[in-house]
């Protein structure tokens, strides 16, 4: 056998090492870019925190809801935008990534603050807004959650008077525990709370629309706002 035909183990080992380095670099680069992206989300969350604080402060200063100047829909859009970005992060880094979980906790707190503020605004400014709190979990614990999330996203796009706040039932966060305890929630997922009324297990689109029709006249609102854009992946980060 000629020298060149011979299988040179040393050479192949070296090539293996080089391939391994290049291969790992691909993963490192991908993670590096994902982490950079997370920093951007942190910044957006900071903005939202400031906006919420600012609105809270407005309420406090005026000692009554500044109903004429109230523009909570911008805040809602910011909230949904974060949710959308978080969803994309989770599919890249995995739902159990520690940094992602931190961001998710922070996001959940912002949601609760937003929800509280909205409740106050609805009461004081007499707004026609319905808030939905939605508890979900991963596929194993709750096989229907993905579909439920999709329906809620669709409804949210269809009826702009809807505000949907989604929470991971298993997220280890005291604020979520508090939320669960005030509604005496059992783990029978998915759970939907519409204007303080708790509904357990999967609800089809029609069922939800029927429930919603108890609070508002859906048809008139749908017609008035049918041009609103819907988000396809906002409910379940």
């Amino acid at each position: 056998m000629s020298e060149k035909k011979k299988f040179n183990w040393k050479r192949h080992f070296l090539i293996f090492l080089i391939t391994l380095i290049i291969f790992s670099s691909g993963f490192f680069l991908s993670n590096f870019l994902a982490e950079k992206r997370m920093l951007q989300i942190t910044a957006v969350q900071e903005d939202l925190r400031i906006d919420i604080l600012s609105l809270e402060t407005q309420f406090s200063i005026l000692a009554q809801a500044p109903c004429e100047n109230l523009n909570e829909s911008t805040l809602t859009q910011e909230l949904y935008e974060i949710s959308r970005r978080l969803a994309s992060i989770s599919s890249t880094l995995g739902r159990n990534n520690s940094y992602f979980l931190r961001l998710k906790k922070y996001y959940s707190i912002l949601e609760i603050k937003h929800w509280l503020l909205l409740k106050k605004a609805v009461k004081e400014c007499d707004l026609d807004i319905v808030s939905i709190i939605y508890f979900y979990s991963d596929k194993k614990t709750c096989p229907d959650c993905e579909n439920q999330g999709y329906i809620l996203t669709n409804l949210r796009g269809k009826y702009p008077f809807l505000r949907v706040y989604s929470f991971d039932f298993d997220l280890d966060l005291s604020a979520i525990q508090a939320l669960k305890s005030i509604y005496f929630l059992e783990k029978n997922l998915p759970i939907i709370i519409i204007n303080d009324e708790v509904y357990y297990s999967f609800k089809a689109k029609k069922e939800l629309e029927e429930i919603l029709s108890q609070y508002v006249e859906l048809e008139s609102l749908e017609e008035a706002t049918s041009t609103e854009e819907s988000d396809s992946d906002g409910i379940q980060p």
């Binding site: 056998m1 035909k5 299988f7 291969f23 991908s30 994309s88 599919s91 999709y150 396809s232 992946d233």
Partner: protein
């Protein structure tokens, strides 16, 4: 998920192979072309086996007579393997014109029988073969013969190019042949070529004396003969600058049939020559043969992964439709987060897949440069990159299937 893991294995092996091939090429880049120390013209006989090549034989023989090689040293033997068209008559016309050409006719028995028939009719020191649908560049033979200055070299193959591209199928083959030319050069540097293709391969006469004539070899006698040479540790070189032009398969059906024959032939001949997989005995050749079999499995899994993803995408859309009814926004929305990226987040598959793409484009670029190719190939390259992986998987699956059900295939 086993499919995504296979995708990573595929990328890893692809990168490994590319680094191996490119590093070998650049280390040996001074040996790519063969310089000539002293002009020497030994006698050469080129056998042209043909079956129903009436449309092509004139061009083939014209190109042979036009070769830049001393006439008295070049003999052309046409063996008509029982054609049903006017191949024989057309070839005979050449015989009348010049003594250089001799034409024989025999009963149809397959390409290998035509080659063996030709072998019996010549006493030349070097014997080559050229398919009846191919034609040569006028310098092709001289460039091949330079390699025989090295006494250890027993066979030399040429670079095959697609003569004409009229549709996408032919365009894909054009790129495939470009890549093959580059890879064959690298394999020849490693003394590990595993094919002596029909369109111009030349052998020393003693090769046939020692190894015997061609065999049926599962309709891939050119592959089997190379395996036999390798088993005997005979050196095969690749004259990358010796250009042979051949017709591409014009339809998907004809291409499918040809590639099925090649892949089935590779697997069955490999089964017959299992000792070539002994890495201690056959070194890089074994490595490359292992690689080609593993790559076949990977290409099948890769295509399976793509189809699984496409299927999943449609199932999801149907599921969503059932959940919320017709929702135009979601129906037409496309989340490109499958394997590559996700809302600006780059996945490892994108980065590593991009590197694999760079490797393939490097092969094409280098091959184009080394074979003096001036044609614009952008469109063909795009089609190759988009479709080849699917075609290759179909050919491999079919080859495995034909072997499993023990189904034979015809040469044509």
């Amino acid at each position: 998920m086993i499919l995504i893991e296979t995708l990573y294995i595929a990328i890893f092996l692809g990168l490994y192979f590319s680094i191996f091939v490119l590093s070998t090429f650049f280390e040996n880049r001074k040996e790519i072309y063969k310089g000539l120390k002293k002009e020497n013209f030994p006698s050469v006989c080129l056998i042209v086996p043909c079956y129903n090549e009436g449309k092509n034989i004139k061009r083939t023989l014209d190109s042979l007579l036009n070769l830049d090689y001393p006439r008295e040293k070049l003999e052309i033997i046409v063996v008509d393997d029982g054609s049903k068209d006017d191949t024989f008559l057309k070839a005979k016309a050449f015989e009348k014109r010049t003594k250089q050409v001799r034409v024989f006719r025999k009963e149809n028995g397959g390409k290998y029988t035509a080659l063996n028939y030709g072998l019996l009719k010549t006493k030349a020191q070097f014997i080559g073969s050229l398919d009846g649908d191919s034609y040569l560049d006028s310098k092709a033979l001289k460039k091949v013969m330079k390699y025989f200055e090295d006494k250890k070299i027993m066979a030399v193959i040429s670079t095959i190019k697609i003569s004409e591209v009229k549709n996408i199928i032919e365009g894909i083959q054009y790129i495939e042949f470009l890549i093959a030319a580059f890879l064959r050069k690298v394999f020849s540097i490693l003394d590990s070529l595993n094919v002596t293709p029909g369109p111009l391969s030349v052998f020393r006469r003693e090769v046939y004396k020692i190894l015997g004539p061609y065999r049926k070899a599962h309709q891939t006698e050119d592959l089997e003969f190379a395996f036999r040479l390798q088993k005997a540790n005979f050196k095969i070189a690749h004259a990358i600058d010796s250009l042979v032009y051949t017709k591409a398969c014009p339809t998907f059906k004809s291409l499918f049939h040809q590639r099925l024959r090649w892949r089935r032939g590779l697997l069955l001949n490999l089964k017959d020559y299992l000792e070539l997989l002994n890495i201690k005995k056959h070194g890089n050749l074994s490595f490359l043969l292992y690689y080609s079999v593993i790559a076949s499995f990977i290409s099948i899994v890769l295509v399976g992964y793509i189809f699984w993803k496409i299927g999943f995408f449609f199932l999801e859309k149907i599921n969503n439709f059932l959940l919320v009814g017709l929702d135009y926004f979601n129906l037409f929305s496309f989340q490109p987060d499958w394997i590559l990226f996700n809302l600006g987040l780059i996945r490892p598959t994108l980065i590593l897949g991009f590197l694999s793409l760079v490797a393939i484009l490097t092969y094409i670029f280098l091959s184009k440069k080394l074979t003096f190719d001036k044609k614009s190939i952008t469109k063909n390259t795009v089609f190759y990159l988009l479709l080849y992986v699917f075609l290759n998987a179909i050919w491999w699956i079919s080859a495995f299937f034909f072997i499993l059900v023990r189904k034979d295939i015809s040469w044509q």
